[in-house]
Assembly symmetry: C2
Homo-oligomer: 370 residues x 2
Amino acid sequence: MTDIKRRKFLKTAGTGGLAVAAAGIAAPAIAQSAPEIKWRLASSFPKSLDTLWGGAETFSKAVAEMTDNKFQIQNFAAGELVPALQVADAVTNNTVEVGHTAAYYYWGKDPTFSFGASVPFGLNFRMQSAWMYQLGGIELMNEFYKKFKIYALPGGNTGTQMGGWFRKEINTVDDLKGVKMRISGFAGAVIAKLGVVPQQIAGGDIYPSLEKGTIDAAEWVGPYDDEKLGFAKVAKFYYYPGWWEGQTQLSLYFNLDKFEALPKSYQAVVKAAAHTANEWVMSKYDVLNPQALRKLVAGGTQLRGFSEAIMDASYAAALEVYTEISAKNADFKKVYESMKAARGEGYLWQQVAEASYDRYMMGLQSKGKI
Amino acid sequence: MTDIKRRKFLKTAGTGGLAVAAAGIAAPAIAQSAPEIKWRLASSFPKSLDTLWGGAETFSKAVAEMTDNKFQIQNFAAGELVPALQVADAVTNNTVEVGHTAAYYYWGKDPTFSFGASVPFGLNFRMQSAWMYQLGGIELMNEFYKKFKIYALPGGNTGTQMGGWFRKEINTVDDLKGVKMRISGFAGAVIAKLGVVPQQIAGGDIYPSLEKGTIDAAEWVGPYDDEKLGFAKVAKFYYYPGWWEGQTQLSLYFNLDKFEALPKSYQAVVKAAAHTANEWVMSKYDVLNPQALRKLVAGGTQLRGFSEAIMDASYAAALEVYTEISAKNADFKKVYESMKAARGEGYLWQQVAEASYDRYMMGLQSKGKI
């Protein structure tokens, strides 16, 4: 009830004041503020990818624990209720109240979605947090998401991803020409400018495609997930970094009407549970990736860094795509400008104390001194 | 009630079963699980240092919002209830139920406290999160804290700190000899081995000490807080990195008995609110530090990196102190071994995708290309 309506109501109901007051007492405040709610969450990830799937589990568990199980969210893995890449639609249509997904899967609807996950030569994890939580990133994305009846919060992060698996070495920009690579959306549009033939293939179908030689290369996430999917058995060279994913944020998507109808206390619970999931996924990857990397290298995987020339050509190609899309999409342009400002400031600061400390520690690490 | 006691109770109370059940119904479950609670929090920080103080504010606000103001925590700044460096004692003694502080302030009680904040050549922010949330860091520290009747959770982070302000240039290890520097605890013990004379001085007293020349150098946090405290006016050279603070975690300290007596749902609320505060403080620093750095440099501050030789000598000195303390303190040794394992794995992984991406992006940043 708006304040104006409430005052009107109190005025017109003046003669029946006692009855109104009595009705107020009859419904205890506690029941209104902590109702029993059961929601369903559709994840874009299978249970086997336990870091990604685990983000949704961590979120729903925190919500249940904080509300004494009064607010329960049941999680469904990719394909159980809706296909992996249709989670946004399911939230928009209120087929499910919540989705746990990567926003760039919906690049085809509007490229602006990508900023909710990752964009080429974008932010790293720390900068994404700064942008989202302090520089209006959450608000800016939600302004855009209104068109899709979605309210979104960060709900996990992978950190910088790897550049993917190649069956042959990529030493020069020319070596990329004609390479059929599983790489999607924005990154696919950029790398196509260097002659790569991008392919959209779901996670579970990458391994057979690489094995059969339908594709020559594939990127997925990082050592932990990639080792699980077995890519090392069919491609020898593992490149870094994934310049299209300096960080990749997972998103919790809520049906906007459903989120707005929640009691304020439940909205606060959801926000804090999203923070919990965000730190859980990032820290889980940071523990599991080094173990998997060690295993991959022991098994014969060859680690390779993209050359400076490849990075430069990719950056130039990315700028072209940013310019092309910005020219015809005002939402995209607006969010891009905001992200760019966060990135410039972020790298200005992180190159000082943070990078010099890490550089020294990495030196000790590679000399076996820590 | 333990399960054995409960079964015994049910058995002996068998004949009066109906009365027991009736009593159970009479007290509605809702009242038990969401009681009205008012707690007090003592911060080690003044309100003027709004990122540090803001961590406690973010925490208490999240707790209140999630519980419809039924669980209220009133925050008191440093000195309002207890002095800045006596927050741990106040929590142990239940003078306040909660403290928001930096664990290394209590290095004098036991050096093991330091791992809850920062140790020389320790973890960076990402690794601290991985260690705390996924590798048993929280549990290990709380095992130690039991002696002090404290239960602790991460409640903010500064990231890598700066190496501090010097009135003269420090080009060689010899230049450090005889320098009177405001630097405390563990870091002070290490840097003393290089000839620095460490001084324990509270935040508010650093500026006059530097101005009067009672000290020649001082470290505090980073650009944002340091600029506020005015150090640039009395010392020209600003060094990086603070090798004694690769990250510095703020801690929420709870009186152990009080925490354990909370309903499970409130314990969950407290944990999620701590995650919220942790991300808030880190992201706030990441937004404010670059602005302050820009201002400092425009005002004439000279940025200087510690030389490799100074870093090496400091690392050697740190190893000596780690060895000395480990030989006589089993708690310290146990936590140190756990931290070291997390650090080795962390840097193994972060030097691959993460560092190569950041290095390339920092290159673009310094060429003015992003």
